[in-house]
Structure formats: structure tokens, C-alpha cells
Amino acid sequence: MDNQAKTEAGNQSLSDWFKSVWHVIAIPLAAVLLALVIGAILLIVSGANPIEAYAALIEGSFGTMKAFGRTLAKATPLIFSGLAVALAFKAGLFNIGAQGQLLLGALVSAAAGFLIKGLPPFLHVTLALLAGAIAGALFGAIPGALKAYTGASEVITTIMLNYVAINITDYLADGPLKDISGGNIVARTPAILDSARIPSIGEIPVGFFLAIIVSIIVWFTLWRTTTGFEIRTVGLSPHAAKYSGMRVAFTVILTMVISGFLAGIGGSIETLGIVGRYQPGFNTGLGFDGITIALLGKTHPFGIIPAAILIGAMKAGASTMQFNAGVAKEITDVIQALMLFFVTADMIIRKMLRTKDGGGEKITLSGWGQK
């Protein structure tokens, strides 16, 4: 109890610093290892060689500069969707709708990427990114406003809005925004212009740096600004927030808007940096992975980065694992679920590590959002 009480104590020495870092990462680290061990057992049971499989997984994700670049490229949208989910958690909101917000962001940035012509690259990229982000933000505002004004649980409305987003984007990609050049019959938008493409520096996608910068901004906003204070207060105690004069409804909406904004950037970056257009089915699951990542990263912006890289690596390496070791890619889902389980069920690990508390905050959501 006492450790938890120390909120943001200043750390005096380097060894203290290491201790506190260890304190925070011990549980996630142990969770990842445990998940890998159980995954290995499953592999053995199904007749595969876990060492070979994991070696291939690592080769495919970190083995070469190219693989590493691919891992970072995979991690980039995951950082954004992870931030989106984590930020909402801070306000006591469960944004399962990051997926839908991300889809709209991807589509709108693609539209901005091919419809707007004659802009210099930097401006065009910025504009297209913003367009996608704002689309995500607006789509996030809907469940936020419903929650704030009618009390409708954001868990359910965001699930429903995900389906709505799929329908909208499919309709647009197969209708008004469809690529009709060169006799194309595939449902997809035209390719974005070169001026809207986010380049890579060597193998490292520029989007990844943006993700790092945005993580820092989110961290700063949450813990160093009054807006962040309001968000966290509303999350921990809406009643105290109201008492102190904060606008609870406004903050709920604002949080969902920022959350949608972040998810929207995630989709935009995919479009502008990787896919180059909007095509249905190209952004599947990125938003949902955000939930896993936010939780693995203990809902902290800086925890999210390694968590996203980890999951990104599993995605990047899955094909190599199948190629080299013949192991079906679904095993990475199982490992992900196990990681999530162990990192949340920290009681189990705490018993094993004999530490009293898990570091970071215990994650409790508002259930259906009623407090």
C-alpha cells in the first residue's frame, strides 16, 4: 500500500531510478516471458519446434534492417491506437471504437491525398494527416457526446459505431471515392499523390518518429497541463471533478475527441506511409490491437511504445515464422492473449516475483461507464 501511495516522487539517485524502472517493467516483462513459455508448450503440443519458431519470429522482426523497419512500420499505427485507448482509459472511458475512428481517418486522409492537388509535399502530408485525424476526432465525438449527454455506455456505442464505420468506408471506397482509372474494378480509392506520401529514412518510417513525438505530447498533456489534470480527475472521480468546477461532460467529449484524433492519425499514417490509398480490409484489427497495447503498456504513453514494438514485431515476424518454421500465424494471437492475461492478472506474477505491488497504476475501468 505504501509504495502505491508514492505518486510521483522525485528520484534521487541512478540506482533509485533503476529500481523504479524495474518496479514498473518487472510485471510486463514477466508477463511476456510467461506468455512465450506457454506459447512454446502449445507449439510443442501441436508438433512444432518452438525454438525454431521463435528464432524465425525474431529473424522476421529484428533480423535485418529491413525486418526492423517493418517492425517499426507495424508498430507505428499501433502506438497511435494504443495512445487513443490509453488516453480514454485515463478519463475512465473504454474506447473500443478506435478501430472505426482509425478506418475513417485512413479513408479521409486518402481522399485528401488524391483530391488535393498542387501542394508542396510537406504541406500536403500535414494537411492529409490532419484531415484523417479530424475525421477520427469527429467520429470519436459521437460516443463522447452520447455518453456525456445521455449516459449511453461508450462500450456499446463504440462497438456499434465500428460497424457503422466499416459500412461508410466500404460504401465510399466502392462508390463516390472509387478508383476508376485504368479500368480498375477493385473497391479502393485512387492512389494518393506522391506529394502526400510520408517517406522513410532508410528502412525507418518517418511515421514512427511522429508516433514517438505524439507519445511525448500525450504524456505531457496528461501530466503537465491543466487539461490533462481535468481528464485524469474525471477518470478517477467524476464527482470530485464536478465539485471542483470542471466541466465533466465537456471533458468526456474532449477526451473522446482527442482519442479519436489519435486513432485517426494512426489510420492516416497507414494510408500515407504504407498503403498509399484506402482499400477495404487493409486496416483490419489495428484499433482492436490498441486495447491490448494500451493495457500491456499499463496505459502509460511511454509504456505503449515498447508494447507496440513488441506486438508489431510479432506481426512483422509472423510470416517469416510460417515461412521458416511452418507455424500458423494464429499462434501469435494466442501469445498476445496470454500476455494480456498475465499483465493484468498481476496477482499471479506478483506471487511469483514476491513483490507486493505491480508498479504503475492498477487498471480499473468504469465498467459500463457508470460511476
Binding site: 500500500m1 505504501d2 502505491q4 501511495a5 508514492k6 505518486t7 510521483e8 516522487a9 503537465r224 497541463t225 491543466t226 487539461t227 489534470f229 480527475t233 478517477l236 472521480s237 464527482h239 470530485a240 471533478a241 464536478k242 465539485y243 471542483s244 468546477g245 470542471m246 466541466r247 497504476e361
Partner: protein, 509 residues
């Protein structure tokens, strides 16, 4: 002594919570048919001991004898089987259930596989008649007054044929009259062979009904006595371990201009029932207006409306000459109103936050804590906290610990410090010392009077008559959403207030 018929004997109970030794080798005897008072400061371990007896908490050590036979109590189920009934400090009723459903829960009567609500209803009416505890078996619990809820709690125990009854602070929410009725019932029960453990902070009540008294301090039993051997001061001294001042001293008030004026306020509660009916009064600078009343008579709604937490259905409130918008706490923060809320855990504090953050909860956005840039000045926040810690004598390991780790008294000091230090002109304090020990009460009362003497207009809501009497310059009494009367403190007595709080009209007294 060994021949003596004991209803319950507790031997050497020790109960630890993380970081707290709540019961330290406690032994306790309850004779057949007696009312045995258990007395002690907040956190002395009374409730814990009773929860252990009732099987809710597993003791680390200790044993129990019932009717001189050793028993194992591994859960409430066992306790109920041994005839132990308990009315908890916080009521254990399911608000959305009917009285009947609450009554039978856990000891259901069935017909085939179905609940036999008809039979249960009949049985409840029988018992309620036998003990003169009137209830409507079909009423939904959240709709009935607390006094009746308590009756339901006692009936619950009787329905389970309890012959050892634990009452944990049963009078905290009752009018003096209702308390009187309860004592009547308690005596009646002892006549029928029921033995009662009675926990209360009200020394007068102990002297009135108890046969014997056991006093606890910091988890230990520190002594036994009986009403014939002692008086209030004696009990208080035994409890705290030093002489206590039971009432603070204050100079006569110098009321000046009106700072807060309430006109024709009407408020409906969540279910559309009028909780506050057309209330008007005013508070002047330099005076303390105390609002007395039993919990649930509209004080909560009134206080919440005045402090911006709740909307109203009619009426206006004027603060320093300006009509205030409702449901805008920020407006009030910025216009000189301070608020010590009724529920410090729900409204007053963000429990996981550090003390420093809690101390800027209302002013975090103002200079020097932040400016137009919205960026927090951490240095200023910390400095503010350090200042308040010393000035308001908050006892905590540091300003960076979470508010949840503080004792109730220190939590209250954090709130008081935050509100009193930001240059307010009007103070609304709702149950400012609820659940606090005498030392903290003394301190907070002094601070409130200091505010008054500095020219702040103070409005105090309290269910504690002693608090109202010792703080107020004028006293208003609320009953069923209306102000029965407003009198000068000089003209009020405990007895009169008690009657008014129970609904008697002042003219008839």
C-alpha cells in the same frame, strides 16, 4: 465468575489489516440479557471486532464462546446460526428490493422451487407486531426513511431469531425521538432474553441505556466501567486517554451585511419528489448559521444546490449580491464560496491523487498553478501543498502520498485547508466533522470560528446536535424539506431542537 451465564465471550482476538493492527488481543464478555456498550475513538477497532464476531472478517487469532461453549465462526452464515444478528454502521439493505425481499435474503422461504413471498410477508408482519416495529413489507427500501430502514435491519436480525444483537452506531442517523424509541425496543428485547452490544459515540446514550461499558483505544480494550460508576467526562477521558474539551469557546458574533441569500428554493430529487420545499433564509458575514436536521430531510439537496452540484426547480440564490447560476461550481469557486462537502471521499478528494494535487483541486487552473498556457507549474503546486500542510497541521508522511492513505481527520484537514486558504467570503460546510475523533473535531471547529471572526459568512449543516449547538450563532431546523424554524442559538436547547427535528411545530413547544 465462571458460573456466570455468558451469551458471548470473545477471547484474545487479534486482527491485522495491511499496516494496521485493528484488534490487538481483545477479550470481551456479553452477559445474557444485558446491553453492553462498546466505546472508542474512530478507528479504535470496534466495527472490526464486531465484523470478526459476525464472521465477516477472519481473525488472525482468537476464539469465541457462545453460551459458554466454544464455537467456530467461519462466516456470517455460522454467526446467524449461533443466533448472532448485526445491524451494521452502514446499512446492509439492497435499495431496489422490497422490505420483504431484503428481510428473507439468505433465509428464504420457498414453496417448491419458488420463493414464497406471501408466507414471508405474513411472518414479517407477525414479528413486526410482536416487537412493535412497524414496517410496510411491500415498500421498496430506497423509498423509505432511514429510521424505518433501521427498523428493517433490526427486524432482519429478529427474523433470523437472533438472541445476540450487535448495533453498530444505530443512532447516528436518528432523531432524538427515534433514538428514544430505539432504546425502548432495546429494553423490550433484553426482557425477552436478547443480549445487545451497543456501539455509539454519544456518551449520553451510553449513560442512559447501557448496563456495562467496555472502552477500546487503538485496537486494545483499555477498561470496563458502568453508567453508575462514571459520567460523560469520565467516559471521554477513558476513551481518548486525556482530558478533552467537549465544547469550543467563542466570542459573540458580529454579523454584518448579507452575503448569502436563499429565496424560495424548491428542489426535486432523482425520483421527482420535492426534497426541498420553498426554503428561504440568509447568512450574514461574520455569523454562523447552523442547519440542524436528521439525515434525509433535504439538507443534502439544499447544500448541493447552494454549492452548484445540483440544479433546482424554483428559487434563486444570491451570493454577495449577485444571483448565481445553478450547477456551475466553477462560478462559485471564482466568486468567493468555499465548500466542505458532506462526502469527502466522493466529492472532496480524488483519493488516488497526491495531497499536493488535491490541494489545488479547485484552483489548479489559476495563477500561480497554471496560466493561459494551460501548463502546470509543478513548483507552485508543491509549494502550496507544503504551506497548507504546516498551516493546517495535516499529519502525513509527505505531500506526495495519495490522499487515500490518510486518516479521516487528516483528509478533512486537507479539504479544510484547501477551501479556507483561498480567500473565500462564504463557507458552506456540510457535516464538517462526520466520523472524526474529538481532537480533529476540536481543531476544525476552531478553524471555522476563526473564519467567522475574519468576516466570512458560514453555513454549517450538521446532524449532530452538539456540533450545531456549539458552533452556531443562529440555528435553522429542517424537517421534510422545510425549515421548521430559525432561532437564535441562545434560545435553543437540545430538547427543543430534538423535537423540531422530529417534526414538532415550534409554536406547540
Amino acid at each position: 465468575m465462571t458460573e456466570e451465564k455468558l451469551a458471548l465471550e470473545i477471547r484474545h482476538v487479534t486482527k491485522r489489516f495491511p499496516g494496521v493492527l485493528a484488534n490487538d488481543d481483545v477479550s470481551f464478555e456479553l452477559r445474557k440479557g444485558e446491553i453492553h456498550a462498546l466505546l472508542g475513538e474512530n478507528g479504535a477497532g470496534k466495527s472490526t471486532l464486531m465484523n470478526v464476531v459476525y464472521g465477516l472478517y477472519a481473525p488472525d487469532e482468537g476464539e469465541f464462546l457462545i453460551n459458554n461453549k466454544q464455537v467456530e465462526i467461519n462466516g456470517p452464515h455460522d454467526a446467524i446460526n449461533y443466533g448472532i444478528g448485526m445491524v451494521h454502521q452502514h446499512f446492509m439493505l439492497v435499495p431496489v428490493f422490497s422490505v420483504t425481499e431484503n428481510m428473507i435474503l439468505g433465509s428464504e422461504v420457498t414453496k417448491g422451487t419458488s420463493l414464497d413471498l406471501k408466507r414471508a410477508r405474513r411472518e414479517i408482519l407477525e414479528i413486526s407486531e410482536a416487537y412493535g416495529l412497524e414496517v410496510d413489507p411491500d415498500a421498496i427500501v430506497e423509498d423509505i426513511p432511514v429510521g424505518v430502514q433501521q427498523r428493517v435491519e433490526i427486524l432482519k436480525a429478529l427474523y433470523r431469531k437472533a438472541n445476540i444483537l450487535v448495533l453498530d452506531e444505530p443512532t447516528a442517523v436518528l432523531t432524538p425521538q427515534e433514538a428514544e424509541d430505539l432504546f425502548q425496543v432495546m429494553r423490550q428485547l433484553t426482557e425477552k432474553g436478547v443480549s445487545i452490544i451497543f456501539i455509539t459515540h454519544k456518551l449520553k446514550e451510553i449513560l442512559k441505556v447501557a448496563d456495562r461499558v467496555t472502552v477500546m483505544r487503538r485496537g486494545k480494550v483499555v477498561g470496563h466501567t458502568s453508567p453508575s460508576e462514571t459520567d460523560q467526562q469520565g467516559l471521554a477521558t477513558m476513551m481518548v486517554g486525556r482530558d478533552v474539551l467537549l465544547e469550543v469557546e467563542k466570542a459573540p458574533a458580529k454579523p454584518a451585511e448579507i452575503v448569502l441569500e436563499i429565496s424560495n428554493l424548491t428542489i426535486k430529487d432523482e425520483r421527482g419528489v420535492s426534497a426541498v420545499k420553498d426554503i428561504s433564509f440568509e447568512v450574514r458575514s461574520g455569523e454562523i448559521l447552523g442547519i440542524a436536521g436528521v439525515q434525509g430531510n433535504g439538507q443534502t439537496e439544499l447544500a448541493e444546490a447552494i454549492t452548484g452540484l445540483r440544479g433546482v426547480d424554483a428559487g434563486t440564490t444570491t451570493l454577495l449580491g449577485e444571483t448565481i447560476p445553478f450547477e456551475k461550481p466553477r462560478y462559485l469557486v471564482e466568486h468567493g464560496l468555499g465548500h466542505v462537502p458532506e462526502d469527502r471521499h466522493k466529492h472532496g478528494l480524488v483519493l488516488p491523487y497526491s495531497l499536493a494535487d488535491n490541494m489545488v483541486l479547485c484552483t489548479y487552473y489559476q495563477k500561480p498553478f497554471a496560466g493561459k498556457t494551460l501548463i502546470r507549474n509543478e513548483q507552485a503546486v508543491l509549494k502550496n501543498a507544503e504551506g497548507l500542510m504546516t498551516r493546517f497541521d495535516v499529519r502525513a508522511p509527505g505531500i506526495d502520498v495519495a490522499a487515500s492513505t490518510l486518516s479521516g481527520g487528516n483528509q478533512q484537514k486537507v479539504i479544510v485547508g484547501r477551501e479556507f486558504s483561498r480567500g473565500i467570503k462564504v463557507l458552506v460546510a456540510n457535516q464538517p466533522t462526520r466520523g472524526l475523533d474529538v481532537g480533529s473535531i476540536e481543531y476544525i471547529h476552531k478553524e471555522i470560528i476563526k473564519m467567522r471572526d475574519e468576516g466570512v459568512g458560514v453555513l454549517v449543516f450538521s446532524a449532530e446536535l452538539d456540533e450545531i449547538l456549539s458552533l452556531s450563532d443562529r440555528i435553522a431546523v429542517m424537517f421534510r424539506g422545510e425549515i421548521v424554524t430559525i432561532v437564535d442559538a441562545k434560545d435553543a436547547t437540545r430538547e427543543k431542537l430534538g423535537l423540531w427535528m422530529a417534526g414538532s411545530h415550534p409554536d406547540t413547544v
